[in-house]
């Protein structure tokens, strides 16, 4: 096991493949049929970049990842929790992951996952209406957005307004096809980028090919 440049994320070589790993908070249990590797009593879970946009971004040599052990993260669009489970591993026992989705169907799976992870909270809420949950939550260090909606940038910014700490970080998966199928993806990314630039400093933009088609992975930081 080798620590990568991102704290909490490890890698190892197996059959000529470079695997991404996190230290498992749940031992050998694997809810997503992911492989686990045991080394000297520490269990690692194998993170498949083809199933996770964050995994893909790391496999594509993302330069800086604001998700680090011990911080608080709000995750919008958590779905059944594949990516969130790895974020939870990275944050470790001292961190906190608030995972939110508006589909009862997937939140049931997410809830069962969350019960096993003491640093994770599952919420059934609509990310378009942060006013309904902002008061209940603490301010967070980082917001991760993957809701695949037409107004995803606006959704992110609304949440950042009420829940992100000053100088906190944002991570956005921009899916060009959910925003406008008729436009060239690059045009879409530029439009979303200029919306963000009013209140955020753009740290990096990464294209997720070949893992995900027409996705841009944006890292930004709140100006104040």
């Amino acid at each position: 096991m080798e620590q990568t440049k991102h704290k909490g994320i490890y890698s190892t070589w197996q059959d000529k493949n470079n695997l991404l790993l996190t230290k498992s908070l749940t031992g050998k249990q694997s809810r997503f049929k992911e492989d686990t590797i045991d080394e000297d009593g520490t269990v690692y879970r194998v993170w498949d970049p083809t199933r996770s946009k964050l995994g893909a971004a790391i496999a594509k040599k993302l330069r800086y990842l604001p998700i680090r052990p011990g911080i608080t993260v709000l995750y919008l669009g958590a779905a059944n929790g594949y990516t969130p489970s790895f974020v939870s591993d990275i944050l470790g026992e001292k961190g906190l992951l608030i995972a939110l989705d508006h589909t009862a169907w997937v939140v049931r799976d997410l809830f069962l996952l969350t019960e096993k992870r003491s640093n994770m909270i599952a919420l059934l809420e609509d990310a378009r209406k942060p006013s309904q949950y902002a008061k209940k939550l603490p301010k967070v260090d980082c917001i991760y957005q993957d809701v695949a909606q037409r107004d995803q940038t606006e959704i992110f910014m609304k949440n950042a307004d009420s829940l992100l700490k000053p100088r906190g970080y944002g991570i956005l998966c921009i899916k060009a096809r959910s925003i406008d199928v008729t436009k060239n993806p690059h045009e879409v990314y530029q439009t979303e980028r200029s919306k963000l630039m009013k209140k955020f400093e753009i740290i990096s933009m990464l294209n997720l090919n070949p893992y995900e088609k027409d996705h841009s992975f944006i890292i930004c930081r709140k100006l104040k």
């Binding site: 049931r108 969350t114 209940k136 008729t182």
Partner: protein, 228 residues
């Protein structure tokens, strides 16, 4: 840190309560509809296998026209009766081969699946008529359930413009049209299955009329006063 623990406890309890009340009749309909579609597909495949296998004993089984007819013949009391039902004096097959008993067991299982599918279909009709009687005056409960798999709830259907309802189920064609203007825009979606028409033009017109009716009915069912 202690604070985080209590916060988690409270919020998780709240989510649990919400999950309990979040399952509505529409969710059930969507599950039932998807199960019926899956069963239809599976039953078709299993019937092909069954006929292939049974044809070793009685090749004439291929002359049957419908699935139910084939099943009725296979599930006779004896192979003699099967032959009679097919009006055969003699068969070119070989009846005394191993596995005959097992094919019958297999056929019975398919029969059970068909029964289950029919029961679910009845339940779909019952539930849809209960939650949306006006819509069910215009289209079958099964089609309504199919619409619900696209939009989720009667409420959303009631808030949609008729033109959008008309195109539900034609999303692929619509996106193709929007991406490159060479393709014509689609004129109808899954509601077209509910109308009788000879030409595509007529179908488009009738589907348009039907979606207008469904739209009104949805608003009546959702916003109407005599709502149960």
């Amino acid at each position: 840190m202690k604070q985080a623990i209590t916060l988690r406890k409270e919020l998780m309890q709240e989510t649990k309560e919400r999950l309990k009340t979040s399952i509505n009749e529409e969710t059930m309909l969507i599950q039932m509809y998807q199960t019926v579609r899956e069963l239809e597909h599976t039953i078709n495949n299993l019937m092909i296998k069954l006929k292939n296998w049974f044809s070793c004993y009685l090749p004439e089984i291929y002359t049957t026209k419908t699935q139910q007819e084939a099943l009725d013949i296979i599930l006779s009391d004896s192979i003699e009766e099967s032959k009679q039902k097919l009006n055969l004096k003699d068969s070119i097959g070989t009846i005394n081969r191993t596995g005959y008993e097992q094919t019958i067991k297999f056929a019975k299982s398919i029969q059970t699946l068909i029964k289950t599918k029919e029961l679910i279909e009845e339940q779909i009709e019952e539930t849809t008529t209960k939650i949306a009687p006006s819509i069910c005056n215009e289209i079958s409960g099964k089609t309504l359930a199919q619409l619900l798999t696209k939009v989720g709830t009667i409420k959303r259907l009631a808030n949609m413009p008729s033109s959008a309802i008309q195109l539900l189920g034609a999303e692929k064609a619509l996106f193709r049209h929007l991406q490159n203007n060479r393709n014509n825009p689609p004129k109808y979606g899954l509601l077209a299955g509910e109308v009788q028409a000879k030409t595509p033009k007529e179908r488009a017109k009738k589907t348009k009329q039907l979606s207008a009716k469904v739209t009104l009915a949805a608003r009546k069912d959702y916003y109407g006063t005599n709502k149960t």
